[in-house]
């Protein structure tokens, strides 16, 4: 269970998050929607621990742990995964090497035996099939020269390998054609489980046709301005984000605090 309370964050002195409240229970999938610049990606990066953002107020409680007190790599080891909107290229480092280093760092933390090369290959090949990735991507440099769709598949592959407790997907649908979108969404749906929560950040309703959320929240100017069920996304689709501004402020139902 993650409880975000009154979160404020700035970058270069500019306020991006302005008192954001959100609770996601174990096993739930919450979608965060919002116009460009509303703070969606900032929320993702702040949760993952990027130091370019400064948290000025608020708290994040994650199963009793103060999430904000942990450095990025410890959050990752504790089971927080961020699927990047723009996956980063690391020239000269093979995907296989990178994935194995990541998986073993996390297995070490969980007190599990580290994979040797054979175990790892067997595991990764199975997971790659599920996201329809060719084996050659293991031996190419991390994300280097990958198409947009290949990069996103690589993110879902990593999520499957790292078995997070909380996955944050930052516009995983951006730049994908419909076929790639389906593959990615199937990959994500396969990972839904009662122990795993997900925060799916998206600009478009389209993704939610494939990843059906338990709740939908609308983010505007750094706080959640509306929460609802699946139907909220459809209303947004119909009326556009401008519609939110004209509606009477509703309490951030379920997701917010009393």
């Amino acid at each position: 269970m993650i409880k975000i309370h009154n979160l404020h964050a700035t970058v270069d002195g500019k306020a991006i998050l302005n008192g954001l409240d959100l609770e996601v229970a174990d096993g739930e999938v919450h979608a965060i929607m919002g116009p460009n610049g509303s703070g969606k990606s900032t929320l993702a990066q702040v949760l993952a621990g990027r130091e370019t953002f400064e948290v000025t107020e608020g708290s994040v409680d994650w199963d009793g742990t103060d999430l904000l007190a942990l450095p990025a790599e410890e959050r990752a080891r504790a089971g927080l995964f961020l699927a990047f909107q723009y996956p980063v290229e690391i020239p000269g480092v093979s995907n296989a090497y990178f994935l194995k280093a990541a998986v073993n760092a996390i297995r070490r933390h969980r007190g599990l035996p580290e994979y040797d090369a054979m175990d790892f290959l067997a595991r990764v090949k199975t997971e790659m099939k599920a996201v329809d990735m060719k084996e050659e991507f293991l031996y190419r440099s991390v994300n280097e020269g990958f198409s947009g769709g290949e990069k996103k598949r690589n993110e879902v592959l990593q999520m499957a390998l790292l078995e997070p407790k909380l996955a944050v997907l930052d516009e995983t649908d951006s730049g994908l054609d419909i076929d790639a979108l389906k593959v990615v969404a199937e990959g994500v749906n396969r990972l839904r489980s009662p122990e795993r929560s997900m925060i799916v950040i998206t600009h478009y309703q389209r993704l939610l046709d494939y990843i059906v959320p338990d709740k939908v929240h609308v983010l505007s100017q750094g706080r959640i301005v509306r929460s609802g069920g699946r139907e909220l996304a459809l209303e947004l689709e119909e009326h556009g984000y401008g519609w939110i501004e004209t509606q009477p402020a509703a309490p951030a139902a379920q997701g917010g605090r009393p």
Partner: protein, 482 residues
């Protein structure tokens, strides 16, 4: 300091692990340089007359020369009269005949440096020549190599046992008057390695020399000469370390490679001289002339260097592509951290027809380090069909370091094809964050990114040294921002 560099910071402060001193009595000549000193060195080594004459001629030439000032390096002038030009561990008389005669203290020193001269050498299948200050203390696997007709020994031994080969080849690639430091080396060089691989023989194991400077105020001036006759091939590696001292010490070596028809020489260096402390106090001044001569048709000389040490590096391993269809390669990783300065690169001189060269340079600058690539690709009027490909990449870590690139291209034949590519990049905060978000520590992330940057060069190193080089890079980067 920006938050983005903090993980790098935390990573980059590590001690130089080879900085210890071996307490040992040594046989040392007085400080300073003169004809008398040269005669003294030559006499200590019991050299034949021709060698002394060669030294004296070089010395007289040196007196007329001035140190080069074109390099992108800053340091106080060197006082050449304040240097000891010869220092040898006292226990060594005429050179031990076997490892059992080597001072155990010396064996322990090399053990400590990870270059055991006893059993492990056998396991690893690498023949080692160990040079301590001015003399070679041991050479392993001599007998086994001898069965193939291969000569691998201390240079001073070659002067005695194979004077005809020394006379025939010494100074034919780097003549004594080639440059200021080469002239100095020719006058006072003390020891080094000598390799001769006869016609048609493929050397069955890696040959390597480990250079260790120990004594205070002492310069090391070694000379290495490698000859591969027709159709022969050999892979050779050198490693270097020195104690941590507050004074700068001079290392001015000369390496000459000669490849006859169809011969191949692969020369790899992992240079880890003491780089000085983080404020730039102490460290080795490394002024080295390395040159290969592809004298025969279809010969191939390949330089691979990983340069992580020295306060100052001035070094341009080059290839003269004299034979038709000969090939020259230069693969380099040079790292400057703290106050280190490196001005390094290569010269590829195309003289024969259809000669090919490749230059792959990876410069890493961190801390307040300065890294300069200086390259010359020259295609002479006779070099029809010459081809060169140059790639020169710089990686910056932190915001107080510098990277410079000075490529020179001279083409005198219309059929030549010369390509040059260059990039400069930083270790991105985004790359670090991406890796850390996957649970990888900042230390591992930096070393992974740097190793990725260097991968094309590391894969040219003999396997076990590639592993060592990767580790060394991790060590040398410690403390590079902050």
């Amino acid at each position: 300091m920006s938050t983005a560099t903090r993980p790098i910071d935390a990573f980059l402060e590590q001690e130089y692990t080879a900085g210890f001193v071996t307490e040992m009595e040594s046989d040392t000549v007085p400080k300073g340089l003169s004809e008398d000193i040269i005669r003294m060195i030559s006499a200590r080594k019991n050299e034949p007359e021709f060698m002394l004459e060669w030294r004296l001629a070089a010395y007289r030439r040196w007196l007329t020369m001035r140190p080069p000032t074109w390099a992108h390096l800053r340091f106080d002038p060197i006082d050449f009269q304040d240097i000891v030009y010869y220092s040898a561990p006292k226990s060594k008389k005429d050179g031990p005949q076997s490892l059992d005669e080597v001072d155990p203290e010396l064996l322990r020193t090399f053990d400590k440096l990870g270059v055991p001269l006893h059993e492990r050498a056998r396991l690893a299948g690498v023949a080692v020549d160990a040079v301590f200050d001015s003399v070679s203390v041991a050479t392993t696997f001599k007998k086994e190599l001898g069965e193939h007709g291969i000569i691998f020994c201390a240079f001073s031994e070659a002067v005695h046992n194979h004077p005809e080969l020394v006379r025939k080849y010494l100074g034919t690639v780097v003549p004594p008057g080639d440059n200021y430091y080469a002239a100095l080396n020719s006058a006072v060089f003390s020891d080094g390695s000598f390799v001769f691989v006869p016609k048609g023989v493929k050397c069955p194991m890696e040959l390597s020399t480990y250079f260790r400077i120990n004594a205070r105020d002492t310069g090391q001036f070694e000379r290495t000469l490698i000859i591969a006759e027709e159709g022969a091939s050999v892979s050779y590696l050198e490693g270097c370390t020195a104690p941590m001292r507050d004074e700068n010490q001079l290392h001015a070596a000369v390496v000459e490679l000669i490849a006859l028809d169809d011969a191949k020489i692969k020369y790899s260096t992992v240079q880890n001289w003491y780089p000085g402390d983080k404020d730039g106090i102490g460290g080795i001044y490394n002024f080295v002339t390395k040159r290969g001569d592809c004298r025969g048709a279809r010969s191939h000389i390949s330089w691979t260097q990983v340069e992580t040490g020295s306060a100052i590096t001035w070094k341009y391993p080059s290839v003269i592509l004299r034979g038709d269809d000969s090939v020259g390669d230069f693969h380099s990783v040079a790292l400057s951290n703290h106050r280190q300065q490196a001005d390094t690169g290569t010269k590829m001189i195309h003289m024969g027809r259809n000669t090919k060269s490749t230059i792959l340079s990876k410069g890493i600058s961190a801390g307040r380090g300065s890294n300069t690539f200086r390259g010359l690709v020259k295609v002479t009027p006779r070099a029809e069909g010459a081809r060169n490909y140059t790639q020169c990449d710089s990686l910056l870590i932190g915001d107080r370091c510098a990277a410079h690139t000075f490529p020179t291209i001279e083409v005198r034949h219309p059929s030549a094809r010369v390509e040059h590519e260059a990039t400069t990049s930083r270790i991105g905060e985004d790359q670090l964050f991406y890796a850390m978000q996957r649970g990888i520590s900042a230390e591992d992330a930096v070393s992974m990114i740097v190793n990725g940057f260097c991968r094309e060069v590391f894969k040219e190193l003999p396997m076990e040294f590639a592993v060592e080089a990767q580790k060394l890079l991790g060590v040398s980067l410690e403390g590079s921002v902050g």
